[in-house]
C-alpha cells in the first residue's frame, strides 16, 4: 500500500514535470489549413478591429487560419523577445515605432521588399504621407503600418465661447497659442487660484517634447547617431525648453503636473472641462467626443520657427523564423492594405489614403486635422540611435523635471548637463 502510494506520487510528479516542460504552443494544422499566429500588444476593445480583419481575411482565404495572441501591457516586448530567442514567436508581430531599430537589429523580422514586388505585390504608394517610414530601417521596409497618430491640439469650444475667444486655426503660431492660452486662463471665483487653464501640456513626457524641439528648428541628436552634445544643448533646443517651461512657470497658462509618471493618472483638467486646450495625440479623442463637459475641436500643433510634427506609430512585420512566410505576407498585406483599412476606418485613421478619402475623413473637421498634420512630420530621435531609450531619454526626462520643479533653474546649464550625461552614456554603449 505504502509502495503503491509512493509509486503513484512519483508518476504524478513525473507527468507534471514533463507537461510543464513540454512546449504547448506548436501550431497544429487543422485539416489542410495553415495556421498563422499574430501577436499584438493591444487589449480589450482594441482587439475588435483585429478580429474583424482576421474574420474577413479567413473568409477570402480558406486555406489559412489566423490566431490572435494578445499580450497587454509593458510585458509584451519581453515576451516577444523570449519567444523570438526560443524561435517560437508569432508569424506576424506588432511593435511600436521606437522598438523598430532594436527588433530589426536583433534580426527579428524578415525584410519585406522582395514580397512587396513579388507574387502578391503591394502598391506602397497607396499610403498616407509619412506612415510607411517608421517601418523602415537601414534602407529596407520591415514593417507596415497598423495605426498611428501625430500630435494635435484639442480645444473645448464651450470654454472658448464663454469667454468669446476665437477658435485656433490651422497654421497658428507659438505666439498665437500663448495669447489664446492667456486669454483663457481664469480665476473665476477670485480666490487667487486658477480655475480654468489655457492649455494642458505633457510635463516630463520626453517623446512628446520632441515636437517642441523640432518646431524650434532643432534636433536632439546628430544624424549619424553619435552626438548629443551640440544638439540637446543647442540654442534651438534651449529655446524650446525655455518656451515650454515659461508656459508653466512664467505665463502660468498650463496646469502644474499632477505627477511625473506616465503610468499614474496625469492631469485631468481638460477632461473635467477645466482646461481650454490640450496638446496630445489622437488616443483619447473617442472619450472626448462622448464627454459632456467638452465640445470638441482639433487643430494642428502651433508653428514655431518651423512647422513640424512627430508621429506615434504601430506596425506589423513578419517573424524571421516563420515557417509560412508566404501565407504571413498574404495576411500582412491584407491587414495593412486596402481591405484592412476598410475595417480600420471605423476605429482610427486608416493608413490607406483612398480609404480615408472615401470615408470622408480627409475633409472631416476633426479627423482631417490629424491627416493634414502628416504633411509636416520630422523623424524622431530614436531613428538615429538604437540606444535612445537608455541614454538620452533619462537625461532629457530629468532636465524637463528640473525646469518644471525649479523655475529658477538655469535652462542652459540644465540642458548642458543633460547633453553631457546622455553623451557619456551613449559613448559607453558605442564602445561595447
Amino acid at each position: 500500500m505504502k509502495r503503491f502510494a509512493l509509486t503513484t506520487t512519483l508518476v504524478i510528479l513525473a507527468v507534471l514535470l514533463l507537461t510543464a516542460c513540454g512546449s504547448g504552443t506548436e501550431p497544429q494544422a487543422e485539416g489542410t489549413k495553415m495556421i498563422l499566429r499574430a501577436g499584438t500588444g493591444d487589449s480589450g476593445e482594441g482587439l475588435e478591429p483585429h478580429q474583424q480583419i482576421i474574420a474577413a481575411f479567413e473568409d477570402e482565404n480558406p486555406d489559412i487560419l489566423v490566431q490572435l495572441e494578445a499580450v497587454a501591457g509593458r510585458d509584451y516586448y519581453t515576451r516577444l523577445l523570449t519567444q523570438i530567442a526560443a524561435k517560437d514567436a508569432p508569424d506576424i508581430m506588432q511593435i511600436g515605432d521606437d522598438a523598430v531599430p532594436m527588433f530589426v537589429d536583433k534580426g527579428a523580422f524578415l525584410p519585406l521588399d522582395d514580397y512587396i514586388d513579388g507574387d502578391y505585390p503591394l502598391d506602397t504608394s497607396i499610403y498616407l504621407p509619412g506612415v510607411l517610414e517608421p517601418g523602415q530601417w537601414e534602407g529596407k521596409q520591415w514593417l507596415l503600418p497598423k495605426d498611428f497618430t501625430p500630435l494635435g491640439v484639442y480645444y473645448n469650444k464651450i470654454i472658448f465661447d464663454v469667454y468669446g475667444v476665437d477658435y485656433p486655426t490651422d497654421g497658428w503660431t507659438w505666439q498665437d497659442m500663448l495669447e489664446t492660452a492667456q486669454a483663457l486662463t481664469k480665476d473665476t471665483d477670485g480666490d487667487g487660484k486658477t480655475d480654468i487653464w489655457g492649455i494642458q501640456l505633457t510635463a516630463n513626457w520626453t517623446t512628446g517634447f520632441e515636437y517642441w524641439v523640432a518646431a524650434a528648428g532643432g534636433s536632439l541628436i546628430s544624424e549619424d547617431g553619435t552626438e548629443f552634445v551640440g544638439y540637446m544643448d543647442s540654442p534651438q533646443t534651449i529655446e524650446a525648453v525655455q518656451f515650454f517651461a515659461d508656459l508653466y512657470n512664467t505665463y502660468k497658462v498650463a496646469p502644474p503636473p499632477a505627477d511625473f509618471s506616465l503610468w499614474a493618472g496625469g492631469n485631468a483638467e481638460f477632461d473635467n472641462g477645466q482646461a481650454a486646450m490640450r496638446l496630445f495625440g489622437r488616443w483619447p479623442q473617442a472619450s472626448y467626443l462622448e464627454n459632456p463637459s467638452i465640445e470638441l475641436g482639433v487643430v494642428g500643433v502651433p508653428v514655431g520657427d518651423t512647422r513640424a510634427n512627430i508621429l506615434f506609430w504601430g506596425g506589423f512585420g513578419i517573424f524571421e523564423g516563420t515557417k509560412h512566410p508566404e501565407a504571413a505576407w498574404r495576411f500582412l498585406s491584407y491587414y495593412t492594405g486596402e481591405e484592412g483599412s476598410q475595417v480600420w476606418k471605423d476605429w482610427a485613421i486608416p493608413p490607406v489614403a483612398s480609404v480615408a478619402d472615401e470615408a470622408g475623413l480627409t475633409t472631416d473637421p476633426i479627423e482631417g486635422v490629424w491627416i493634414n498634420e502628416l504633411n509636416y512630420l520630422v523623424p524622431r530621435a530614436y531613428v538615429f540611435t538604437p540606444y535612445w531609450n537608455e541614454t538620452a531619454d533619462p537625461a532629457l526626462r530629468k532636465a524637463l523635471e528640473t525646469v518644471l520643479i525649479e523655475p529658477e533653474a538655469n535652462i542652459t546649464e540644465v540642458m548642458q548637463t543633460a547633453a553631457q550625461e546622455a553623451q557619456t552614456a551613449l559613448e559607453e554603449k558605442l564602445a561595447e
Binding site: 523577445l81 523570438i84 530567442a85 534580426g107 499632477a258 509618471s261 493618472g265 537608455e390
Partner: protein, 311 residues
C-alpha cells in the same frame, strides 16, 4: 561480547541503517515537489543569472563574456546605481522601525478586549491583502495635489498640502505613507504571538505589584522578541525589494527621488534589455540582503529570548 552477539548487533545495525535509508528516501520523496521546484525554478535560474552577470546579453544576440565589467561599471561609473541604493536604504531605514513599532502598537490595541474586535482586526489587516497595483492607484487619487482627498482634508484645516508625488522632496515620504497602510501584515504576526503569552505571567507579576508598564517591558517585550526578530528580517527583505509603488505611482521620479533599486534593475532588464547588467545588479542586491540578514541573525543571540531557554 561473544561472536554471535556481535553478529546480532551488526545485523541489527544494518537493519537500522536500511530503515534509516528508507526513511530518508521517503522524506525526500515527500518533499520532492518543493525540492524539484526549488532546483528548477529558484536555484537553477539563480545560477544562470550568476553566469549571465558576467556577460553582455540582450536576450537575442549570443551572450559575450566580459568578466567583471558589469560589476566594475556599477561600482565605478553608474550614478543611478548609487542613487537607487541610496533611495532604497533611506526607505528601509525609515520604514522598518515604523513597521516594527507601528505593527506592535496596532497589535497591542487590538489585543484588548473590546467590542467588534474582529471587525477592527479585519479592517486593519485588509489593506495588506489588496492587490499591489490597485492599492497604489487608489493612493495616487488620494495624493492628487489639487483634487486629492488628502490635500482637500488638509485645506479644511488651513494647510496647503505639498504636491506629493510631483515633488522630489515629498514623493518618497508619500510612498512611505502609502506603505504604512500595509502594517496589518506585521500586526497579525504580533497578535498571534501576543495571544501565546501565558496569562499567569501577568497575574504573577501583578501579585508582585508590577504595574502594566512594567509588565509590558519585563514580560511582553522579552517574550515577543522572537516575533520582532522575525518581523525585522521579513521587513528588511521586503523593503529592499520595493517595486510596485514606485513603478506605478512615480516611475522613479521626480528627479530620480523614488528610483528604487529593483525598479532600476527592472529598467535595465526589461526596458533596455541589458540582461547581464541587470543580473549583476540582482546579485549585488542578493549579497546586501544576505549580509544584513546574517548580521541580524548573528546579533539575535543577544536580544532574542525563547521561552524555556536557559540563560
Amino acid at each position: 561480547m561473544t561472536l554471535t552477539g556481535r553478529a546480532k548487533a551488526l545485523r541489527r545495525a544494518r537493519r537500522s541503517t536500511s530503515l534509516a535509508r528508507r526513511e530518508a528516501l521517503t522524506f525526500y520523496l515527500l518533499i520532492s515537489p518543493w525540492l524539484i521546484g526549488l532546483l528548477l525554478f529558484v536555484l537553477g535560474p539563480m545560477v544562470a543569472s550568476l553566469v549571465v552577470s558576467f556577460t553582455r546579453w540582450d536576450l537575442l544576440s549570443p551572450a559575450t563574456f566580459i568578466g567583471l565589467q558589469n560589476y566594475e561599471k556599477m561600482l565605478t561609473r553608474d550614478p543611478l546605481f548609487w542613487q537607487s541604493l541610496k533611495v532604497t536604504a533611506i526607505y528601509t531605514c525609515v520604514y522598518v522601525p515604523m513597521e516594527l513599532a507601528g505593527g506592535l502598537v496596532l497589535a497591542l490595541l487590538l489585543n484588548q478586549r473590546l467590542r467588534f474586535e474582529g471587525v477592527f482586526r479585519t479592517i486593519y489587516y485588509l489593506p495588506s491583502v489588496l492587490p499591489g497595483v490597485a492599492f497604489v492607484v487608489l493612493w495616487i487619487w488620494i495624493l492628487h495635489p489639487d483634487v486629492g482627498l488628502l490635500n482637500t482634508l488638509l485645506s479644511y484645516v488651513g494647510i496647503q498640502g505639498p504636491r506629493w508625488l510631483a515633488d522630489p522632496g515629498w514623493a518618497l515620504p508619500a510612498l512611505l505613507m502609502m506603505s504604512l497602510w500595509g502594517l496589518g501584515r506585521s500586526m497579525v504576526i504580533y497578535l498571534a504571538s501576543l495571544q501565546g503569552i501565558p496569562r499567569h505571567l501577568y497575574e504573577a507579576a501583578s501579585i508582585d505589584g508590577a504595574n502594566s508598564w512594567q509588565s509590558f517591558w519585563k514580560i511582553t517585550i522579552p517574550l515577543l522578541t522572537p516575533t520582532i526578530f522575525f518581523n525585522l528580517v521579513l521587513s528588511i527583505i521586503s523593503t529592499f525589494q520595493t517595486f510596485t509603488s514606485a513603478y506605478v505611482a512615480t516611475d522613479g521620479g521626480p528627479l530620480d527621488s523614488t528610483l528604487f533599486y529593483v525598479l532600476y534593475l527592472f529598467r535595465q532588464a526589461f526596458q533596455y534589455f541589458n540582461m547581464g547588467y541587470a543580473s549583476a545588479l540582482a546579485w549585488v542586491l542578493f549579497l546586501i540582503i544576505l549580509a544584513l540578514t546574517l548580521l541580524i541573525v548573528r546579533s539575535s543571540g543577544r536580544w532574542v529570548f525563547y521561552e524555556g531557554e536557559r540563560r
